[in-house]
């Protein structure tokens, strides 16, 4: 076992374990913290696979910004009685269905015969070459993303404003 594969399995176990813990937590804040650990693990995995820029972005965007958003949403929701509520069967069924499909895919991928198919070359890229590739080949996608972010701003403002109008009278009543 090389040092690469040792690190890979260590990280895989870390990611799997922390994600499993995150899913099963009743306390949402704890779940978010475990999810952050899982994201750090994935970032290291990206680094190992030769995508250092992606690793950095994983930490900056996922472990940083998205988790902050999760925390705020958790704080915005009403927390009473959430901790000892089991999910109803109606929510379990689709989850089990989706898990079954993905499990089936996994089994198929493992048992399928791949001897004649050449393995995919590892996509190792230094940050500069990654940026060059992205901006020379896929700059249309980048401009589409900029518009996506723009309409996200518009939509969030509309939603947040209305939600604000709705909650403000309630909080005044509470005081």
């Amino acid at each position: 076992m090389t040092i690469y594969s040792t690190l890979f399995y260590l990280l895989a176990v870390l990611i799997l374990a922390s994600t499993a813990i995150a899913v099963t937590r009743r306390n949402m804040v704890h779940a978010v913290i475990y999810l952050v650990i899982s994201f750090f693990g994935s970032a290291l995995l990206f680094y190992l696979f030769g995508a250092p820029l992606l690793a950095a972005l994983e930490v900056i965007i996922y472990a940083g910004a998205i988790m902050i958003l999760f925390l705020f949403i958790v704080m915005m929701l009403r927390m009473e009685g959430l901790e000892d509520r089991l999910f109803p069967l109606k929510q379990w069924l689709p989850a089990v269905g989706v898990c079954f499909v993905y499990g089936m895919v996994l089994v198929m991928l493992i048992v399928s015969d791949t001897t004649d198919a050449p393995p995919m070359p590892a996509a190792a890229a230094a940050p500069a070459t990654f940026g060059q590739f992205l901006f020379q080949r896929h700059w249309l996608a980048i401009e589409i993303v900029s518009m996506l972010l723009l309409i996200a701003l518009v939509g969030v403002l509309r939603l947040g404003r209305d939600a604000g109008g709705k909650t403000r009278p309630e909080s005044e009543v509470a005081q």
Partner: protein
């Protein structure tokens, strides 16, 4: 880089930017309406002028050919028509009108890019842009609870569908090592027996099935149609369906007809969609919910054309896109006129429409007969093309089930027509005061529906050529 062939997209982008600026100016919905009509009109002209343009842009990730240009023209016409019926726009608060037009044009831009994208990354990002603008359009409905709850449902189902799709695309890329469609179309038929390829394709199609409201992803449709403003519902049921038909055709063409599994998968989805759609539509009281279930059923019919994976099948699917665009839009034109206040509309409220506004009643009847597939409307021609294409491939059972479904659907379409023609208007309901120009628009649409139904040849020639460009 040849910017001329990109001009329809640039028109759309410019329109969106104009409305972004207008949204920061003082509120004036009359001004917004006139500007929107003018700018989208220009965009329609640009797309019609460039219908024979050809070329590749952005490092081969974006292909412009007759196939994509025909669909872009249809999309822009859909946008233009929806803008035309927005003069009242009472379902959305006045201060959000510029945002409404902006999101509508950005969504159309995204759908046009979806139609032209030949690289899975561009395809995915364009799909996301169009989905997100639609989610926000649904949220814009006045009276926040209705819009917000249906928008939330739309968003959650949409997000899971696009996650599924991303997984499928990843599997496909992992199995074939190719992301350009021109490479995929060569690689896939050779590796189609591998489970991850077929699964990847099926999962990748799921994202589009969601937008199309095909069976496992159809739950959003009735709630969203009911919860969104009429104009937004009209847009969802026309333009976004048209674009998805184009992408499904492109994706199905990737297999080159080499996989019977995929055909069976699509056939099962088609059968379930049309049966579920038609049977549930019978029980509906709300006209927009009924239209939603009918569009689920129509998604099933289109799938029959798509799964043929033959030139005839592709031609019939493209023609059916035009059919759906015209017929569904006519229905929504009537919905907007009858429910001018922006509230939802029960079928009973149509009572005596032929007294209150004969032209609207005629338009509704023609459109519903078209959706049911009664000659001499365009709907009959569209269904005929699909069923002959399927018969040529030997899918007798499928055609039989589809025919049976057409008969079921007649029942509920006739119920609506009965309400409009045979019931007496309620007390105090005077003549309908449609928006200016609505009568002319309705007349034109009726004429188009019947004329193309009787003499489809010129349009069919164009569409045949477009289907050839696909292969």
């Amino acid at each position: 880089m040849n910017w001329m062939i990109f001009s329809p997209e640039i028109c759309c982008l410019a329109t969106a930017l104009v409305f972004l600026f207008l949204s920061m100016a003082p509120v004036d919905s009359r001004r917004d309406y006139i500007v929107a009509i003018a700018l989208t009109g220009v965009a329609v002209c640009a797309s019609l002028a460039g219908i024979h343009a050809q070329g590749e842009l952005f490092h081969g990730t974006y292909r412009i050919d007759l196939f994509s240009q025909v669909f872009k023209s249809m999309l822009l016409m859909g946008l233009f028509l929806v803008v035309v019926i927005s003069s009242g726009l009472n379902g959305i608060e006045r201060r959000y009108h510029p945002e409404f037009y902006m999101l509508l044009t950005i969504c159309t831009l995204a759908l046009m890019m979806l139609v032209s994208a030949v690289h899975i990354l561009t395809l995915y990002v364009a799909l996301e842009l169009s989905s997100y603008s639609l989610y926000i359009l649904v949220f814009l409905r006045k009276g926040r609870d209705q819009g917000t709850s249906s928008g939330m449902k739309f968003f959650l189902i949409g997000a899971s569908a696009s996650a599924t799709m991303l997984f499928g695309l990843a599997l496909l890329y992992g199995a074939t090592n190719a992301a350009y469609f021109r490479v995929l179309i060569e690689v896939i038929p050779g590796v189609i027996h591998q489970p991850e390829v077929i699964l990847g394709l099926a999962l990748a199609l799921c994202g589009f099935f969601f937008k199309m409201a095909v069976f496992p992803f159809h739950f959003w449709a009735p709630d969203v149609y009911e919860g969104a403003a009429h104009q937004v519902a009209a847009y969802i049921s026309t333009a976004s369906k048209v674009a998805v038909i184009a992408v499904l055709l492109r994706m199905a063409a990737l297999t080159g007809g080499a996989s019977t599994h995929l055909v069976h998968f699509l056939a099962i989805l088609a059968i379930i969609s049309m049966t579920v759609g038609n049977l549930t539509a019978i029980a509906q009281k709300d006209l927009k919910r009924l239209l939603a279930f009918s569009s689920i059923a129509h998604a099933g019919y289109v799938l029959v054309g798509i799964l043929c994976i033959s030139p005839q099948g592709n031609t019939s699917a493209i023609f059916y896109a035009l059919t759906v665009l015209l017929l569904k839009f006519t229905c929504f034109l009537v919905v907007v006129q009858v429910a001018f206040d922006g509230e939802n509309i029960e079928i009973d409220r149509l009572a005596g429409l032929h007294r209150r506004s004969p032209i609207m009643a005629l338009a509704l009847m023609t459109a519903l007969f078209g959706l049911a597939g009664i000659p001499p409307t365009i709907g009959f021609t569209g269904k005929l093309l699909i069923f002959t294409a399927a018969m040529e491939k030997g899918y007798f059972a499928l055609v039989l089930i589809a025919m049976f479904n057409v008969v079921i659907s007649l029942y509920y379409y006739l119920l609506v027509v009965r309400a409009a023609y045979l019931l007496e208007p309620a007390e105090g309901e005077g003549a309908l005061a449609p928006m200016p120009g609505a009568g002319i628009l309705a007349g034109t649409l009726v004429a188009a529906i019947v004329a193309i139904g009787i003499y489809p040849t010129p349009i069919l020639e164009l569409i045949r050529a477009a289907a050839m460009a696909l292969g």
